[in-house]
Point group: C2
Chain length 443, copies 2
Amino acid sequence: MDKINGLIQKVTVDYKDFPEHVNEVVEMKGIIHRIREMTGFAFVIIRTARDVVQCVYSPDFSDYRMDDKVVEGCAVKLTGKIVKDETREDRYEMQIHGIEVLSSPAEQMPIVINKKQLDNIPIDLNLNMRPVTLRNPKERAVFKIQEGIARGFREFLTSQNFTEIHTPKINAQGAEGGANIFKLDYFGKQVFLAQSPQFYKQMLVPVYERVFEIGPVFRAEHHDTSRHLNEYISMDFEMGFIESFYDIMNMETGALKYIVKLLKEEYAEEVALLNVNLPEINDIPVIKFMDAKDIIIKKYKKKITDFRDFEPEEEQILGKWAKQEFNSDFLFVTHYPSEKRPFYAMDDPADPEYTLSFDLLFRGIEITTGGQRIHDYNEQVKKMLSRGMKIEDFEGYLMAHKYGMPPHGGLGLGLERITMHLLGFKNVRYASMFPRDINRVTP
Amino acid sequence: MDKINGLIQKVTVDYKDFPEHVNEVVEMKGIIHRIREMTGFAFVIIRTARDVVQCVYSPDFSDYRMDDKVVEGCAVKLTGKIVKDETREDRYEMQIHGIEVLSSPAEQMPIVINKKQLDNIPIDLNLNMRPVTLRNPKERAVFKIQEGIARGFREFLTSQNFTEIHTPKINAQGAEGGANIFKLDYFGKQVFLAQSPQFYKQMLVPVYERVFEIGPVFRAEHHDTSRHLNEYISMDFEMGFIESFYDIMNMETGALKYIVKLLKEEYAEEVALLNVNLPEINDIPVIKFMDAKDIIIKKYKKKITDFRDFEPEEEQILGKWAKQEFNSDFLFVTHYPSEKRPFYAMDDPADPEYTLSFDLLFRGIEITTGGQRIHDYNEQVKKMLSRGMKIEDFEGYLMAHKYGMPPHGGLGLGLERITMHLLGFKNVRYASMFPRDINRVTP
């Protein structure tokens, strides 16, 4: 009888280990990314999980004879000798001795994906052909960076004794209100897709004190903009026993520093390939919402029409100001007006027109919204009633408050949005593997 | 101007650090879990993020005078002296010097959650009051164990060069077919909630070679059983360049061993509290589907009515057999009949009535389904047509095959299901924080 022992055997060699195998004959598996026929020899560029490796075919040292079965898109097992690449510093290549074709494409690519980047491919074509365009090294590097951001968030919070949670995406109520919510027929009942894990992460504060979730949320945005997705990955945390909402900003700052460090250390190839301008995070300045408006008026001579929120242009101005004054890519803006914040936001006891909340601007664009929440049952009910909400619809949520909740707060970051701004994309769709917008649910 | 430096200050002491602070006066924050009035003193049991800590109030050493504001459910900051608990070995307690009440409940609990376990509480009441019942130490320990399982899966696969992905939950087609799919109106178009990330993880094999995802999936099961949830967390991986589907079984076995090790090392308190019977995983035996049927017939004298799949009772028999014959809690069953496997399953070239697939049984219950997938475009199209499927509905998915895919395979595990069986629950709802079933979408 066969037995499975869980030992994972690896006979092939990864590119990063090539320097240890110079002049040895080794095996490598990968996909033929590109073939460049030269006079008397050929470059066979192999795409592996994380690298693009130059291999050289020549009848001089290959036992195998290249034929028309060896084409771009084939999965292959190569045998060959590792040598230093004489033309490029610190690069290695393989002299191909043998090629075994493991699988073959049915057709050749209709678009060119094996150049350095996807030049001249319109965004719609890129997204329509995502299973193919993601094979481009720069495209796939975007989502390695994205993996690093989510991983950094998780690893940092885990080190701070947060518990990772998974909360339901089928909900009986929306957490954020408004019309941008997807409705669903659930065995004859109308239910909703989660706009955020807000209710659940708060409910779990009296259970685990500190919780976080990285998972999908759904917003039925009716606008077709370059900044919105209808489904995105939200990174959320909520923490109990805070002294003030400054604890939340400190936790986020710690997480961001950790993420940048992780990207530098473990995603250096992708950072280099995409030429990512990683921020240096030192101390992040903090300014109150109304003081920020004041600076926009006095220093930048702008006329303000809305004192309840910022226009995108105003956020840009604040981003420039933070860079000039403090050499900081980040700026915390605090004490947003109560009427523009959700019903669970805690008002500032010193001035209840404003909340104990913040946004984090990164290079002049909002990437986080967070703040302290109401923990007292009567205070929460009062605020909900003042907004015309029906208490009986929120029985489960309010149960947490009724039977005791510590002072707490938290925040949410959109993973695609932070990826977009870190990589300097103009359209958030480039930061989603398979974006969902008002016109797109495929592939 | 304020600056946020990301330094997280901690002035309180966790229970696990009590031994280092004996006879010192320290601070601790937590929720009053239980008050037991004794003659002349009181036990004040504090629930922290992961512990339940015994504190003693006595006018002899407390500056503070307990009053009726100090009630169960209050969030408090305690000051007190750490001492050894003379009545229990290796336990420490705090002699309370002072209590600061940080927040108070509006009402006292309508049910008792501060006993060792939630005795005599019917499952519906437990689930209706989830924000409260999860505060019970045993209940919350279930989801720490669940965190450990997911974390182990992730950490092991990350160490094996898998890339973590997030795939869309709003899909244009179902991946698994059948009627158990939720429909959704998406700006006037009918779309579906993901039954599994199957298509997407396969599409990403030519991009990253190895990918995994831990995320929600949705099944519109019309049956109200103890084994099914309508929304659950699926742990999936897919790996390219496999030599055979044995590579997948080895990878899973490696992951399971890692998970058990992690639970032993980092979740020991919860393992002890719930009295978890962790499996010893050595070599896992493998048997072919038809050989397993044979054993059931010959050794256990059962009459088989269905040769396309197992009855739950037959899986139980196989579980017993694996334990008796091999002292193994696990058993891989391979080569399931083709007609009961999905259209993307690769048929066995030696006998196309069967597939290169497997289930993993854990103590006689199926916890994983996996196998090798078809990578050749023409072969995949042929199998889909033979099942009456419309090729044009799967254009995006088949693009991956058309332009070249390595041999590959993968698997999926339901996180709640594995938690349920590890903890010996009779109902999967106990393994979901906020379960969704045909009758339940709240809280």
